[in-house]
Amino acid sequence: MSSPEQQIERLSQLLAKVQKNRKQPRVGLGPMAGLSATVPANTTGPAVSAAKPLPAPQGPSSTGGLGPAAAPPRTRKATPTEPITAAVAAPPSPVREEHAPEPPVRRPAAPARPISPLETALSGEAEREERAMPAPARAPAPPAAPAANEIAPRAGGTQPRSQRPPMPPAEASAQQPIVPRVIEPDPPRASTRPIAQVVSKHAPVVDATFGAMLKRSLSLRPH
């Protein structure tokens, strides 16, 4: 019941809710937000647009894509901090339905247990999003860490990890300059043995000086 994955889910839901509340006055979030939450934070337009057709078959979200003003009032739990779009997006995610009421109570207990890499990735993402939110003109979103990309498969595609509104493709591409990654080789390890090694020597035995012998040889002429 309280497996690490479930706790992670609850943490991510909490993060998403906090962020939604902060975003709510500015940006409308529909059911698309719940679906696109499985997309990494730095995912741009194409992935989001691919998720757009999905809200239509979902019955409760007949106002999908219209934003919080068009969303029906929530009757399930109605916590003050929960975004309206969460009610719209609730049907596709039974896991979230099960744990949604609990996070405000259990949140303080989360740091007491060991933090998994997944949580680290989530918290890192939350920090990045919190940094980005207060600015009126949103700062460029940092590229997603590798760990953040790894959590998408584990979430099974149903758990919202971030409900941050997707940036328009043009804006996202303009704010994320491509930085080349330079991979330097490791410095060579110093050898404890000399690289050059002599295996044999020789010492010819010849009398007289070399100069005398050479001079004699050079003075030779044909008969």
């Binding site: 410095p187 020597k201 010819p204 010849v206 000086t209 050479l214 008969h223």
Partner: protein, 183 residues
């Protein structure tokens, strides 16, 4: 006799971080496979220009002369050959020995890789080494079907080369040469 010996320790400095190999004197060298060098030498022989090989010999001769405790002409032959042989061995040019046939000085190089058919490249190398080492122009004429090179005056090198190509062995060639005058 002298106890002086060539010290090969640390002769090559392998700078692996920068991919460079330098000699003790600071000259940069490249390590080549013999099957890469051989066709280059054959091409040089066919074009009749062994200047590069002789230049290499001059560089080796300079290394030898700088390592010797005294000028080569004043040292015992075994010391000079030991130093010269050590440097040649370090560069992978085989094992150098010295023979004396009457008045003729004969260099023997064993363990050479197969380069050109007539051993003209090694002859040029030896000529460069001993010309620089002794401050005198020296020609080393390869003797056919052997690993020996007779040290002669460059002016008679073509004649001796002709004898060797015609089949004369070293004893015959040595007997054809007479010591004109020894100071």
């Amino acid at each position: 006799m002298t106890d002086a010996q060539f010290d090969p320790g640390g002769f090559f400095q392998f700078d692996l971080a920068h991919g460079r190999v330098r000699t003790r004197g600071g000259a940069r060298v490249l390590v080549l496979a013999e099957n890469v060098l051989a066709p280059l030498i054959v091409t040089a022989v066919q074009s009749g220009d062994l200047t590069a090989i002789r230049t290499l010999g001059s560089q080796l001769g300079s290394i030898v002369s700088q390592s010797l405790p005294a000028p080569a002409n004043s040292l015992p032959p075994q010391v000079v050959i030991s130093y010269a042989g050590s440097v040649m061995s370090l560069y992978g040019w085989g094992r150098l020995r010295l023979e004396q046939w009457g008045g003729a000085l004969v260099l023997v190089v064993d363990g050479l890789p197969p380069l050109d058919e007539d051993n003209l490249a090694v002859a040029a190398l030896l000529g460069g080494i001993f010309s620089t080492l002794c401050s005198a122009e020296v020609a080393c004429v390869p003797l056919a079907r052997s690993t020996k090179y007779i040290v002669v005056d460059p002016r008679i090198a073509e004649t001796v080369w002709g004898w060797s190509k015609s089949g004369d062995n070293l004893a015959t060639i040595a007997s054809k040469l007479s010591s004109a005058e020894v100071a």
